[in-house]
Amino acid sequence: KDKEDDESKEEDSCSQQNRASRENNHQQKNSDGKKAEEEGSRRRERGKKAPTKDQKESENKEKKTNKKEKEGNDKQKTDRKNSTTSSNSSDEESLSEEELAMLMEQVEQKKKLISTMRNKPWRMMKKLSVLREAQAFVEKFEGALGKGKGKKLYAYKMMMAKKWVKFKRDFDNFKTQCIPWEMKIKEVESHFGSSVASYFIFLRWMYGVNLVLFGLIFGLVIIPEILMGMPYGSMPRKTVPRAEQATAMDFSVLWDFEGYIKYSALFYGYYNNQRTIGWLKYRLPMAYFTVGISVFGYSLMVVIRSMARNANESTADGDDDNFIFSWKMFTSWDYLIGNPETADNKFASITTSFKESIVDEQESNKDENIHLRRFLRVLANVLIICCLCGSGYLIYFVVKRSQTFSKMQNVGWYERNEVEIVMSLLGMFCPPLFETIAALENYHPRIGLKWQLGRIFALFLGNLYTFLLALMDDVNEKLAEEDVVKNITHWTLLSHHNSSMGNGSTATPPPLDPADVPRGPCWETTVGIEIVRLTVSDILVTYITILVGDFIRACFVRFMNYCWCWDLEAGFPSYAEFDISGNVLGLIFNQGMIWMGSFYAPGLVGINVLRLLTSMYFQCWAVMSSNVPHARVFKASKSNNFYMGLLLLILFLSLLPVAYTIMSLPPSFDCGPFSGKKRMYEVIQETIDLDFPLFVAKIFSYVANPGLIIPAILLMVLAIYYLNAVAEAYQRANAELKKKMQMQREEEKNKRNNKASTNPVLQDLEDLFTPSTKNESHLKQAEDKKIDSPNRTSPVAKTRQDKAAALGGSPMTGGRGRAFTLPPHMFVTRPPTPHVWAPYPGQPRPRGYPLGPVPGRGRGQPRY
C-alpha cells in the first residue's frame, strides 16, 4: 500500500498528460517496486537511473543547439560519454541572457511535446523514450531557469501547479464515479447498443427532474404542514368522517387511497386556509400556490434548455447525405459489442441497413406504383383514426358508467376499477395493432417509427383527455352538490350552536366533534385521488407486463426448448425485444400525469420518485436477464429531441387544465389552503395587500391592467416573428453555403478527373513509379525503424537525417521518383501535397523517403 502511494506521488511529480505513456511508466515502476523488496534496492535503482537521464539531457542539448554533428548510433554513444562532463560543467556556469531565452524556448517546446505526445501515432517504445528525455530535460532546466531570481518561489509555483493538475484529475475521476448508474447503463449499452441505453439515460434525467420537484414540494409544503400545521383530528378537514371511521384503516380502503390516506398531507384537502402557521409565520397557502406554479416553471425551463442543447449538438453534425455508404462501411461496427448475440444482431442489422441503402439507391430513379401506395397509406390512416376514435369513445363511456357506479352502494372490485383496467388494456393492445396496420404503409423504418410514436402518443393523449373531460363532468357535479352541502353545514353548525345555547345559557357550548360535521365533496381531493390511482395502476401494469411478458416468457422459451416440437428460441415465441418507443412514451405520459396531479396531490411526486427508482433497477435487471437486442437499432441521438418535444407537448397540455382550475373554478369551501376564497389565485392579491407596502400593490395593479398586458403580448409576438425571420435567414444562408460547398467539391472532383484523363502520359509515369517505390518502401521500412527512435527526437536532427538520406545511395531512387512526379503537380497549380508519396501527412512513419517535401524538392528542382 505504501509503495503504491509512493508510486502515485512519483507520478504526480511528472507533469505529463500522456495517458498511455503514463500507464506504461507506472507499469514499469510498479514492477520495479514489486521486485525491490527493500527500500535500499530501490534507491540503488533510482541512483542508476539518474545518470542516464543526465546523459540524455546533455545529448538532447547537443542536438538542440546544433553544436555537434550526429553521424550514427555507435558514434553517438562515445560522444555522449565525452559530452556529459562538459555540458554538466557548463550548466554550473551562469547562463547569458540569450542562452536563457533559448533554453526557455526549448523548455516550452518540450512541454508542448509532452502534452501533445498522446496524439502522435508512435510506437509505445518510442513514445516512452522521447517522453523520458523530454521530461528529464524539462525537470532539469526549469530549475535552472529560475536561478538567480527566486528559484525557490519558482519551484514552489511549479509544485503547486502540479498538485493542482493532479487534484483536477482526481476530481474528474471522482465526478465520473458520482454519476448515478453510469456503470449499469454502460453495461446495458455494451450488450444492447446505445438506443436502449438512451431510454435509461432518459429515465435517469427524468429521475433528476423529479427529485428536484420532490425537494420543492416536500421541503416547502408538506414538511412545514406536518411540523407546524394543526394536527390530525383538530378540525373537520383533517378528520375522517364518522361514517367512514369504522373501515378507514382497512387495507382495501387504503389501497383505494380513501380512509386515513385521503385525510393526510398527501392530498390537497388536508391543508388549512390559515394565512400563517407556526412560530415562523409561514404563509402556507401562498407557499402552496407558488410551489404549484414553480413546479411547472422549473419543468418547462429544464425541458427547453435540454432541447436547445440537443438541437445545438445535432446541428453540429454538418452535411449528412454525402457519405452514406462510406460511413456505413467504416463506422457502422459498434466496437463496444462483446457479446455473441449482440454481435450476431449487429451483423444482421448492418446487412439490412446496407440492403436498405442499396434498395434506396436503386429505387431512387425508378417510379413505382404510386397510386397503390397512396391508397394504402390513406387506408391505414383511416383505420388508425377509427381505432383512436373508438378507444376515445370507449373511455368516455366507461368513465360515465363509473360515475353511475360511484353513486350505487356495494359495487364489486371490477366496477370500481373499470376505468383503469380499460385504459391499461387499451395501452397494451393498441400499439401492436397500430404496428400491424403501419406495415401497410411501407414507410422508411425511421419515418415509420416516428409515425408510430405519434400515433401511440395520440392514443395516450386521447385517453388522457377523455379522462380529463370525464373528470371535469365529475367536478361540475361535485360543485353543484357543494352548494347544497354548504347550506346543510351552515345549518348544522347553527342548530348545534342554538341547541347548546338553549340547554344552558351560561356554559359555553361544547364544540361539535370534527368527525360529525357534514362535509362538502372536495373536488380537488377527488381529482388528486383519481390521478394517484391511475398512476399506481399504471406502475403495477407496467411491472406485471415486464414480469409476465418478458421474464416468464424468457424462462418458458429457455427451459421448454428442450422438450418442444419446434425451436422456441428461433420460432414463434422467442425472446422479447426491449420496446424502446413504448417505454419512453409510457414514461412521458406518466410524467404528464405527475405534473397534472401534483397540484392536487402533493405526495404524488414522492410516489413517482419511488417508481422511477425501482423501475431503474427492475428494468435494468429485466433487460439484462430476459431481453434480446434489436435487429434494427435506430439512432438514439436523433430521436432524443423528438422525445423531448413530446415531453414538452405533454407538459404544456397538462398545464392547461391546472391553469383552468386555478383561474376559473371556485375552490371547495371547506377543504384545502384556498377555501373561503372565490378563486385560487386570490391568495396572491391577499398577500400583496396585507404583507407588502402600498406602492407594490399599486404597481401590481398597473401591471395587471389589460392595457399593459395586451401591448406586452403584442411586443412578444413581434419579437418572436423577428427572431424567427432571422433564424430562417440564417438557415437559408446555411443551405446556400452547403450547396456551394457541394458544388465546389464536384468541381474539384471533375477537375481532377479531367486532369487524370487529359494527361495520360503523366498517369503512365505515375503508374510506372508506383511499384518501384512500393517495393523500395518495404525494403526501407525495416532499416528506417531502427533509425526511427533516435531520429525523431528533434526536428533539426530529422531534417539532417533526411538530407543524409537524400544524399546517400539507397534512397536515390526515391528522390528521383519525386523529382519526376513533381512537375505534373506543379502544372495544374495544385497545392503540393504529395498525396501519392506521403499517404500519412503528419505521421512520421517513414516509408522510403522523408515526408517533408523540402529536401526532395530542393534537390529535384534545380535539375529541371
Binding site: E7, S8, E11, R19, A20, E23, N24, H26, Q27, N30, S31, D32, K35, R118, N119, P121, R123, M124, L128, D170, N173, K186, D317, D319, N322, F323, I324, F325, S326, W327, M329, F330, T331, S332, W333, Y335, L336, I337, G338, N339, P340, F347, T351, F354, K355, I358, S637, E748, K749, R752, N753, K755, A756, H835, V836, P839, Y840, P841, Q843, R847
Partner: protein, 168 residues
Amino acid sequence: CFFFLLVYRLHGRYHEMAPNVVPMDYTKDPDVKLPMQLIINMPELKENPFRERIVESFSEDGEGSLSFNDFVDMFSVLSEMAPRELKAIYAFKIYDFNTDNFICKSDLEKTLNKLTREELTAEEITLVCEKVIEEADMDGDGKLGFADFENMISKAPDFLRYCFKKKI
C-alpha cells in the same frame, strides 16, 4: 490512483492470457510477445470482425504478435480518451488489408464481407464499393488515400460514438 490501476489491470489481462510466458515483473524489459491467436480470443476482440487486422496493425512486426508495449498501445488507441485523429490513423491502417497505404476496392470488398458475413450478392458488393469510392474519393484515383479517409471520417457523426471505444 486511477491510471495506475488501469495499467495494473492491463498487465493482469496480458499476464492471464499466457501465465507461463509472461513474467510478472517488467524490470528487466523482457522480450516477450504473445501470438495473435491468444490476443484475438480476448472478450473485447472476440466478436469483432476486424480482430486479426486490429492485432496485426498494432504489432510491431506486422505478423500479429504483440509485446506488452504494443498491447498497451492498442488499448490506449482504442480507449475513449484517445483523440480522433489518432483513431482515424489506426482505423485507416486496420481497413487497409493489403498494407499498400490505400484503401482500394479489394480492401473495401473484404471489409464489406466481414461486416455482413458475406450475405450480400456480388452485384450488391460491387455497387456498394463503387458508391463508397464515388463518395469519398476526392482526388479521383479510384482508391482512398489517407487524406480521403480522414476527410470522410472526420465528418462522420458516429465515429467517436461507436467506432473504437472499448472497456478494459
